[in-house]
């Protein structure tokens, strides 16, 4: 993907690395730098940040002539997987393992086209029973199976 003679993918990568380095330097300067003999907590972050700033520029320059493109983005799969995991995180402690697993598997199943309810239901049952036996009975995780 190219725009105005610049490779967009590589430029974005370089910019992110550069900004991260800048953040490291700025935040590191708030901590005490100390001296070279007695380094403060800010010394190493500032050094690494400076290296990152330099490398960010280098990545953008190095990739300038390349023709790398973004892989195709499947929003449905992304939302399904990430949404499913967030749902699990939100539900696991207040409502228990069973509801959170149902939510995770049902949402993650969205990534597959066409959506097939039967494998989703079967996977949910197997995972809930397996997770209950292994993690709650076996490893004593403090999660309940189901809670209202």
């Amino acid at each position: 993907m190219r725009y105005a003679g610049v490779n967009v993918v590589e430029a974005i990568g370089g910019a992110i690395i550069f900004l991260l380095g800048a953040y490291l330097v700025i935040e590191g300067l708030h901590y005490s730098i100390g001296t070279v003999t007695r380094m403060g907590p800010g010394f190493f972050p500032v050094c690494v940040g400076a290296v990152l700033i330099f490398l960010g520029i280098a990545v953008a320059i190095e990739g300038r002539a390349l023709n790398t493109a973004f892989p195709k983005f499947n929003a449905r799969a992304f939302v399904g997987v990430v949404g499913g995991m967030i749902a699990w995180a939100l539900l696991a402690e207040p409502y228990g393992l069973l509801p959170s697993t149902v939510a995770l598997v049902a949402l993650a199943g969205l990534a597959e086209v066409p959506y097939r309810p039967l494998p989703v239901i079967l996977t949910t049952i197997v995972l809930s029973v397996g997770g209950w036996l292994l993690f709650i009975m076996g490893l004593h995780l403090p999660l309940s199976v189901i809670k209202w």
Binding site: V9, I12, G13, I17, L20, G21, L24, E27, Y31, S32, V36, T37, M39, P41, F44, P45, V48, G49, V51, L52, L55, A58, V59, E62, G63, A65, L66, T68, F70, P71, K72, F73, N74, A77, F78, V81, V82, G84, M85, I86, W88, A89, A92, L104, V105, A108, G109, A111, E112, R116, P119, V120, T123, L127, G131, F135, L139, L141, P142, L143
Partner: protein, 505 residues
């Protein structure tokens, strides 16, 4: 001799029922994830990290190690039957393994793979036994300056020798170092980069980061642009496994050449099993009388690389266990597991934890024999495993990842860290930034900062302490040469590409 009493101690440790059981679990799981395309050994090892909290460190390492070398055995199965590598280190096996399967010789290819893997692994284990204690003894006199320069060399080598742009590799190492700073500074007690989250005062959790970067991101990438292939042959019978006399004669020499290549290159940081297997394939092509047979089902092209990737996997333990310098991300995760158990990796490991080191080495022998049994008589099971649909696999993996990360500290916060790093890892794949160096930097970062501080304190702020002994001087010069060399080659490659772009108009 010392070696035999040490080995006896090792087998005593490895042959306890618990260790045997976890060795078996490790190699079986390793074969399973190796067989299944889309789950690498790294993802599997990071997923099992939380389980190791409940185990003795020796048992934990035996299991994690088993996954790593077990995956090399399983990886070739998918390469041969699906033309899709089960693990990246078996990619090269597709070239000649798949044509063999199409000619109806899948059984022979699978059999030769298992035997070559075993010989490759055994060769390297002998080197682990002989070299690790010697190297460790040599490194015992290391001070902070030596540690810092050796680690710096390890990081630079691992990120510049792996595939892709060296500059991107360095940038990812530096980001890893930055992530390693999150938490409380050990010397001053100052909170660094905690963004106001009290949960981050102990630093970012290795399990959440590793699972996010390697597990979740891999699932995302597979779902968005993964290949699905159909299996060529299911009819792998006992009888079809037997190689002919000709097959046997053709694969002996490549197996030994591959074992040597793999052991040698497995020792170097950053090279690892994948590159070793490609090098072994190139070597076979070069020494062959008739190179045109390659790509059309030449058995040499299967035996050599398979021996090499197994040898490389075992040899990677040498720098990890003798110096505490992991050459690749799997070794870094294993070191992380050791650190979580309160064991400091380094040259003292072999002498201070003899049961751990020799027990692990003995378990390699036991594990490789188990793998031979798992992969030859029971190959039919793995062929059937290949037909498990991904739609069942990935929700299960997500579930275990979430529960596993939660289980480390019983904290939902870590699950959010996991999700964040999963997205981050996917973003890195999309931007073609290498993930493995980041993890290396993250694990080595805190150790490096500590050694740098100590060295500077000893040297009273004088940078020349880095050149204080010939060891640190040598490593520093090697590091500088590597950086210069990698920048030179990347500039030259860019000039070549520039010309290509111009030629395209």
């Amino acid at each position: 001799m010392d070696l035999f009493s040490n080995l006896a101690l090792g087998f005593q440790t490895a042959l306890t029922p618990t260790n045997l059981l976890f060795c078996f679990i490790g190699v079986t799981l390793g074969t399973l994830v190796g067989v299944l395309p889309g789950i690498g050994s790294l993802a599997a090892i990071s997923m099992l990290l939380p389980v190791t909290f409940y185990l003795d460190p020796t048992t934990a390492l035996i299991m994690l190690g088993g996954i790593f070398y077990g995956a090399q055995y399983g990886g070739s199965t998918a390469s041969i039957l699906l033309n899709l590598p089960g693990d990246s280190s078996s990619a090269v096996t597709c070239i000649d393994g798949y044509p063999m399967a199409k000619q109806g010789r899948a059984g022979v290819a699978l059999f030769v793979c298992a035997i070559a893997s075993f010989i490759g692994g055994s060769t390297a284990i002998i080197c682990v036994m002989l070299l690790t204690p010697t190297l460790a003894k040599f490194a015992l006199g290391f001070g902070s300056a030596e540690y810092f320069t050796v680690m710096l060399f390890g990081l630079v080598a691992a990120s510049s020798l792996s595939s892709g742009s060296a500059i991107k590799g360095y940038a990812m190492v530096a980001i890893g170092l930055a992530l390693g700073m999150v938490g409380t500074d050990v010397n001053s007690g100052q909170f660094r980069f905690t963004l106001g989250f009290f949960e981050l005062s102990d630093g970012l959790d290795l399990v959440a980061i590793a699972m996010g970067l390697f597990g979740v991101s891999e699932i995302l990438a597979n779902l968005m642009h993964g290949d699905r292939a159909a299996i060529v042959r299911r009819d792998v019978t006992w009888r079809s496994l037997r190689p002919s006399k000709q097959d046997f004669r053709d694969s002996v020499a490549p197996t030994f050449r591959g074992s040597a290549t793999g052991t040698l290159f497995g020792l170097l940081p950053g090279v690892g099993p994948t590159i070793s297997s490609f090098l072994a394939y190139g070597l076979e092509q070069r020494v062959a009388k008739d190179p045109s047979r390659f790509g059309k089902g030449a058995i040499e092209g299967v035996a050599g690389p398979e021996a090499a990737n197994n040898a490389a996997v075992q040899a990677a333990f040498i720098p990890t266990l003798s110096l505490g310098i992991p050459g690749n991300s799997v070794m870094a995760v294993m070191l992380g597991a050791l650190i979580m158990h309160g064991i400091t990796p380094g040259p003292n490991l072999v002498s201070q934890q003899p049961t751990l080191f020799w027990g692990l080495v003995a378990s390699f022998w036991i594990g490789n024999v188990m793998l031979l049994i798992l992969n030859i008589p029971m190959i039919g099971i793995w062929v059937r495993v290949l037909s498990i649909p991904y739609r069942v696999l990935y929700p299960s993996m997500l579930f275990f990842v979430c529960l596993g990360v939660y289980g480390v500290n019983n904290s939902i916060f870590q699950v959010y860290v996991l999700i964040l790093f999963g997205i981050l890892g996917y973003g890195m794949i999309a931007l073609q930034l290498p993930i493995a160096p980041l993890l290396l930097g993250f694990i080595l970062g805190p150790l490096m900062e500590e050694h740098l501080r100590r060295a500077m304190q000893i040297g009273r702020g004088d940078m020349s302490i880095m050149f204080g002994t010939w060891i640190s001087t040598a490593f520093l010069i090697a590091t500088i040469l590597l950086i210069v060399f990698s920048i030179y080659t990347s500039l030259r490659a860019r000039a070549l590409r520039g010309r290509l772009v111009d030629a395209d108009g």
